[in-house]
């Protein structure tokens, strides 16, 4: 693995005696969208917590491995320094500050940034999500689920991160709204922000990502280009819900196979 972008190497995490991640390695190259797929309890959110250094809120700790951004170690920093280094997470379940106004939520998001360029960041999120400008004075708790997800993403963008960590952005949203969020993620990436996307909605995630990793019980069991993973019989059957007999044939026909299976 090269040192450019976000690199996770041999990361192990435990919650007390329970090992939640075992020697997980992945890479988010500069400007890429990378997705991590997996069922409930596979360790997807734990992976993001380990990167953003918030495991301690859940009684967890990194027991081995490294996380670097352009070669700089992040795994010994406090959460605020991880944000300042350029990695910001949108937590699962949106977690907007419900009692605060939309505008104050965005101000809170900017607290982790450098301070300069706040107005540019605000202009960017208002351009991405015009509804947030219209509802600036409204309490965040009164927004719809989709709008709250927009606010959660916008709040993270206020810190002008280089890498955006998205934890289940489509969770609980209507298909139309999930597609809209996906379009926005694509737009954010086009503007130069790398994205590490953790999703249960594998179809959506694989459409967005260039590379994908499959996590099972805390271990990376499959990784490769997203297009190839989409065509893989195993992924189609287990994560895309495709059960037709052509799936295996499709997978066989996929040329230039570069999927790698973990040999642990």
């Amino acid at each position: 693995m090269s040192g450019a972008g976000l690199v996770v190497r041999d990361l192990s995490v435990g919650y007390g005696p329970v090992r939640a991640l075992r020697r997980v390695s992945l890479e988010v190259p500069e400007g890429a969208v990378v997705t991590v797929l997996g069922a409930n309890g596979a360790g997807k959110s734990t992976l993001l917590r380990a990167i953003s250094r918030t495991l301690s809120f859940h009684g967890g700790a990194v027991t081995g491995g490294t996380v670097t951004l352009d070669g700089r170690r992040l795994d010994r920093l406090s959460p605020d320094r991880v944000v300042a280094a350029g990695v910001c997470q949108v937590p699962e379940g949106r977690r907007v500050f419900a009692r605060m106004k939309v505008a104050d939520n965005l101000r809170a998001g900017a607290l982790g940034g450098s301070g300069s360029g706040r107005s540019a960041a605000l202009a960017r999120v208002h351009e991405l999500f015009p509804v947030l400008a219209e509802r600036a004075g409204q309490r965040a708790g009164l927004l719809s689920g989709g709008e709250q997800q927009m606010l959660a993403v916008a709040r993270a963008l206020m810190a002008t991160p280089r890498v955006l960590l998205l934890d289940e952005p489509s969770l609980g949203l209507a298909p139309l709204m999930a597609r809209r969020i996906a379009d926005t993620v694509r737009e954010i990436n086009t503007q130069g922000t790398s994205v590490l996307l953790v999703e249960q909605n594998a179809a959506l995630a694989l459409r967005l990502a260039t590379r994908a990793y499959v996590l099972e019980v805390g271990e990376v069991t499959l990784s490769g280009p997203a297009a190839e993973l989409s065509a893989s019989d195993e992924v189609r059957r287990r994560y895309l819900g495709v059960v037709d007999e052509d799936a295996a044939a499709d997978a066989e026909q996929a040329t230039d196979r570069t999927l790698t299976r973990w040999e642990g």
Binding site: F57, D80, V83, P91, A108, L111, G112
Partner: protein, 296 residues
């Protein structure tokens, strides 16, 4: 009627001082979810610094030193003690604050001894007479100072980055951390602000008609506790309303003590707690507190 108006105004003044203390409770609770039982000792520390310095450097510099001293003690307690226990159950942290309170109060009462220390305030025992109503200058000063400080605090809470960080941390510490909020700084700031407010409250709890700062002053500070609880421990508005309610209740109960002798003596001290219990029976989260909701 004039007696009633006088008692009411005195009660509002006293209540505004309680509101300052209650605001300290609330600020710490919102920033850290810890009920701070060491608040009374912060108040005593601030008052003590002002009392020992005013002869040498004058009242106003001594008051500033008292505010800074109490803020420093608060910040030090957070940094040296509370931070070490971060992530521990909040009930445990509350008990830790009782330990801190015992340590601080023991040292301060040892220093104060049996003395009654004056704080050298410029108002003395002067009284303003408005027709039939008499009002001590100290009471007016207390009300004005508390109103100014509370207004400044609320503006800062709403409009500054510090306020946004504190409100974010109060809603969800983890999410605030994900946004880059420095929780340690927010928590230390809350303890420092609470200490500073307590030092101002110490001044107005010990000026005329009270003889001065003594060992029992910290007990008077505890009356702000029902104020914070009945207002709702996580509500700044609740702290203000609760403080005023406790002040007026205490003032009325003391003022009409002679008409209430059948209830026994010391009703003024008891009344705030009775009001707190009555309100909590009707509204368990306090008047403005956030109700705990659970998805089922």
């Amino acid at each position: 009627m004039s007696t009633f108006a006088e008692i009411l105004l005195n009660g509002l003044s006293l209540g505004s001082v309680y509101a300052l203390i209650a605001l300290g409770f609330v600020v710490i609770f919102r920033a850290t979810e810890v009920v701070n039982f060491a608040h009374a000792s912060l108040l005593l520390a601030g008052g003590y610094v002002t009392a020992v310095l005013h002869d040498d450097i004058g009242f106003w510099p001594a008051l500033l030193a008292g505010i800074a001293g109490a803020a420093l003690v608060g910040a030090a307690v957070e940094f040296l003690v509370m931070r070490r226990y971060r992530g521990t159950d909040h009930s445990v942290l509350a008990i830790v604050t009782i330990g801190v309170d015992i340590l601080l109060t023991t040292e301060l009462t040892r220093r104060i001894g049996t003395d009654v220390l004056t704080l050298g305030d410029p108002w003395g025992d002067a009284v303003l007479r408005l027709g039939p109503i008499s009002l001590a200058h100290t009471r007016i000063a207390a009300f004005v100072a508390a109103a100014l400080l509370i207004t400044a605090f609320l503006l800062a809470f709403r409009y500054t980055s510090w306020g946004v960080a504190m409100r974010a941390a109060a809603e969800s510490a983890e999410t605030a951390a994900l946004m880059g909020v420095r929780l340690g700084r927010v928590s230390m700031g809350a303890w420092a602000v609470a200490g500073g407010l307590a030092a101002v409250a110490a001044l107005f709890l010990t000026v005329f008609p009270t003889p001065g700062l003594e060992r029992a002053t910290s007990l008077a500070a505890l009356k702000a506790f029902p104020a914070a609880i009945l207002g709702g421990l996580d509500s700044t508005t609740g702290a203000l309303v609760g403080g005023l309610l406790v002040g007026v209740t205490e003032s009325l109960a003391t003022g009409y003590q002679s008409d209430l002798t059948f209830l026994g003596r010391g009703l003024g001290d008891l009344a705030p707690y009775l009001v707190m219990v009555a309100i909590l029976l009707i509204r368990p989260a306090g008047l403005f507190g956030t109700k705990e909701l659970a998805r089922v």
